[in-house]
């Protein structure tokens, strides 16, 4: 059952990616902003413009350009960046680990904070603490992540300079790595000096991304727990004499967590999208930062490559969540 579901989702994913590629390819070519006009030096003539158009293949029809690009993609060639003149695939794959690590760290922080607030709010329901948690969640949700980023920079970068404001790692330490998964590698190699430097760079951008998600998790999980706490089997646990902490964590939480899990999966894809602005704000060398430069410079091949990669990420994450949900939910597992 799960295998059939997986194959069906894979087929849908391929069609989705093809659709995304068409939309992206056509859109970025018809919106105002000609990349050739951007790179014209002073004194360029009409002949120079024609020469540049031919050099970058913009003298062909959009459809022709698309099929040339698609054929390249099928062969693993996503084209060459106009600005850096490096292969697009290499550029985006080099940056992908940085964005993935940031997103995962943000997700972990969000789950920890959101889960803690939800459990605390449930445990202390009806008290002022629950009210304070609700107010805090509301505030956290109503402020966008980039604004949290600015607040964090002010607090922990300027007023109490505990964390680094920009970059992914201190420049003198980058040569210590053999892969681009710096955080993962530092843990595996037990290099906690590197880990500490990485976390001190990543913590603020990750927290800025995590705060709104933590608020969502907190609100939804608390609501689910609240509903679950009134179910008969929970009342039975209490009657058996189990303590409130045991009842919440061992009895209510496993059932209450399923809707939150689905939401976290969906929100994680939004979180990856949110890295675009946050990476820019913190000068974090991930895909998002690169995407903004690509858009500013109308680097069309690079924009295409990044958007396609984001689309792949989104669909893979959705697929993973879908499968995980099917595994965890007995009704789907045995359907």
């Amino acid at each position: 059952m799960i295998l059939r579901r997986l194959l069906s989702r894979l087929a849908t994913t391929l069609v989705t990616l093809l659709g995304v590629s068409v939309i992206v390819f056509v859109t970025i070519r018809v919106v105002p902003g000609n990349p050739i006009a951007m790179m014209l030096p002073p004194g360029a003539t009409e002949a120079d413009i024609d020469r540049l158009r031919a050099l970058y293949g913009f003298d062909r029809s959009i459809m022709e350009q698309y099929f040339i690009w698609l054929w390249g993609v099928v062969q693993g060639d996503f084209g060459t960046s106009i600005q850096s003149r490096q292969p697009v695939l290499r550029l985006v794959l080099n940056r992908l680990p940085a964005t993935l690590e940031l997103s995962i760290m943000a997700l972990v922080i969000a789950v920890v904070i959101g889960g803690f607030l939800a459990l605390t709010g449930t445990r202390l329901r009806g008290t002022r603490t629950e009210g304070a948690i609700d107010v805090t969640s509301g505030m956290a949700l109503s402020v966008p992540d980039f604004l949290w980023g600015l607040v964090l920079i002010l607090l922990f970068g300027v007023l109490w300079p505990v964390f680094h404001i920009s970059g992914r790692i201190s420049p003198q330490l980058t040569s210590e790595f053999t892969t681009n998964f710096f955080l993962f590698e530092s843990v595996v190699r037990l290099r906690f000096d590197l880990w500490r430097d990485l976390v001190s760079h990543m913590f603020m951008p990750a927290l800025a991304l995590a705060i709104p998600l933590a608020a969502i998790i907190s609100q939804l999980l608390k609501q689910s727990l609240k509903e679950t706490m009134h179910l008969d089997y929970v009342t039975l646990s209490r009657t058996k004499g189990y303590g409130e902490n045991h009842v919440i964590i061992r009895e209510a939480l496993p059932n209450a967590v399923l809707p939150t899990l689905t939401l976290v999966g969906v929100q994680f894809t939004f979180l990856i999208g949110g890295t675009v602005i946050i990476e820019r704000l913190f000068s974090y060398e991930g895909l998002g930062n690169m995407a903004i430069d690509a858009v500013i410079n109308r680097d069309l091949p690079l924009i295409q490559g990044i958007v396609i990669l984001f689309a792949v990420l989104f669909t893979v994450v959705n697929l993973f969540v879908d499968m995980l949900y099917a595994v965890l939910n007995p009704r789907l597992r045995h359907a």
């Binding site: 902003g33 000609n34 120079d48 850096s84 940056r95 300027v158 404001i165 920009s166 420049p171 000068s283």
Partner: protein
């Protein structure tokens, strides 16, 4: 010890602080850290779109030398070329090459490197964006320590291009050995700093070149972080993470330089703010154009919007440019503007109407400046509708000759020659111009090939006067570049706007 919830939280916070607290910056700065405002997409300063991006030339000039050195006041000086000129009938150029210079890999710099570099960028297939400039020379050859080339088409500014965009010398043997991709990965030049490490979109670490032919740079290592967000750059320098930053908002500049431990330098640079006029709609009317120019109080814009940082301009030439003529003035006179508009039947009740295009946030206070100008125009009888667009759209429309009757832009001319400011901006056939009229084109045309330098400069001054008299463009101001830095360093600014690490010294 009794462990309460409060004390547990306090201890947790303290341990986080101790774990991640950065060491306090030492008193003496060993590794200079600069928070730079743009990313560096490519290391080849001679080909591809990055080569003509004026904002990254400072990074290139830290690593590569130009044929001719440009001093902080924009004037040329001997660099890798110690002397240069034309033969008597202007059919050949000659260049004497400096001896004793070494590339960053320790190999000798030779006249052959100069010949190869010039010949390479004159070929279309290299992706040289300035092929039309370098292609005016051909048959490059080396004779002893001198490089000679034949002049295909006389260009009186050819030696100025040798300290302008793409005017860099690259290492022939090394480049041919490692190829374009290898050069991107490990670039070498003859400049004051060598590239030690480069992470795209993140930073570049530079190390002083021990064999540099000029004055040795003061800092042994320099880290340039690419911090593209202005608020993050402010935080970088305010927290002490970076020692120098640039392009911060003027209000922040005043606040930061008043802080203990920080200082600031500000100087006019070669970038100007201007409004292109096109010969269409209301702008085809001479009275409307002149009224639009006379109605703008430039000093008020500088004082109110730019905190006083700016120099009002009457032509497209700044005081540092070769063809600057201080006698050309266009007065701020709203009464005259009203009279001119009345002659064409316009008034505040029946205003002249047109669209003005502008970017928003591309340059400091660009949109606000246009809002202020539109307000000034409204008071004399001009009703302009503001259309905001991205700078990419501006380039596209300008190249296609489809700009609105008025369009804001900033023009950079770090070489200071009138051809690369008034020339390209106002000569009708140029894809960079907006105005196109026979009278102006006939005045400008002969100046492209004028061999007599004095006559050439006088010719451009006459062009500037003609433009001002006919209000073919609205020059607004020359930008002032604010640089915030630690009070432990001294920054010498370059009038081109390039922040050069080797011009930064300990205070």
């Amino acid at each position: 010890m009794k462990l309460s919830r409060r004390s547990l939280l306090q201890m947790s916070a303290a341990s986080v602080a101790l774990t991640f607290a950065k060491p306090v910056l030492a008193q003496a700065i060993d590794d200079l850290v600069i928070a730079y405002n743009v990313n560096l997409p490519s290391w080849d300063p001679t080909t591809g779109p990055s080569a003509v991006n004026p904002t990254i030339q400072g990074l290139y000039q830290a690593v590569f030398d130009q044929y001719i050195l440009q001093q902080p006041d924009l004037s040329p000086a001997p660099g890798l070329l110690t002397d240069w000129g034309w033969n008597e009938d202007n059919t050949q150029v000659w260049m004497d090459v400096r001896e004793g210079v070494k590339w960053h890999d320790g190999s000798d710099f030779t006249a052959e490197d100069v010949r190869w570099s010039l010949e390479r960028v004159s070929r279309e297939e290299t992706g040289s964006p300035m092929q039309f400039v370098w292609g005016t020379l051909a048959n490059h050859r080396v004779e002893g320590n001198r490089v000679i080339a034949d002049v295909v088409q006389f260009d009186p500014t050819i030696f100025k291009w040798m300290y302008f965009l793409t005017g860099y010398v690259l290492p022939k043997d090394y480049y041919e050995r490692v190829g374009a991709e290898g050069f991107e990965a490990a670039p070498i030049g003859t400049g004051p700093y060598m590239v030690e490490q480069y992470e795209r979109n993140a930073f570049v670490r530079l190390k002083a070149n021990p064999d540099y032919w000029g004055d040795a740079p003061e800092f042994e290592t320099v880290t340039i972080r690419f911090v593209t967000d202005a608020s993050s750059r402010v935080a970088e320098v305010e927290s002490g993470n970076s020692h120098v930053t640039l392009e911060v908002p003027y209000e922040e500049y005043d606040r930061l330089r008043a802080r203990s431990g920080l200082a600031g330098t500000d100087a006019p640079i070669s970038d100007i703010a201007m409004i292109f006029f096109t010969n269409r709609d209301a702008m085809a009317d001479e009275n409307v154009r002149k009224a639009a120019v006379h109605a703008v109080d430039k000093q008020l814009i500088i004082d109110r919007l730019l905190s006083g940082y700016g120099v009002p301009l009457h032509t497209l030439e700044t005081p540092e440019y070769l063809a600057f003529d201080p006698s050309i003035e266009v007065e701020f006179n709203p009464d005259l503007a009203r009279e001119l508009l009345a002659e064409s039947g316009y008034s505040t009740d029946n205003p002249a109407r047109f669209t003005i295009q502008t970017t928003r946030g591309y340059k400091p206070k660009d949109y606000e400046m246009i809002q202020a100008i539109v307000g000034m125009w409204r008071r004399v009888g001009i009703e302009a509708e503001i259309e905001v667009y991205e700078v990419a759209r501006h380039f596209e429309l300008r190249a296609a000759g489809e700009l609105a009757p008025a369009a804001f832009y900033n023009w950079g001319n770090s070489v200071g020659d009138p051809t690369t400011s008034t020339g390209f901006a106002m000569f009708g056939p140029s894809p960079h111009s907006a105005w196109n009229s026979d009278d102006l084109n006939e005045m400008i045309g002969p100046l492209w090939g004028e061999a007599d330098e004095d006559a050439r400069i006088e010719g451009w001054k006459a062009v500037s006067r003609h433009i001002a008299d006919n209000a073919y463009v609205l020059p607004i101001l020359q930008y002032v570049q604010p640089v915030v830095h630690s009070d432990r360093v001294r920054v010498q600014q370059h009038a081109s706007g390039a922040l050069l690490p080797h011009l930064i010294t300990r205070a």
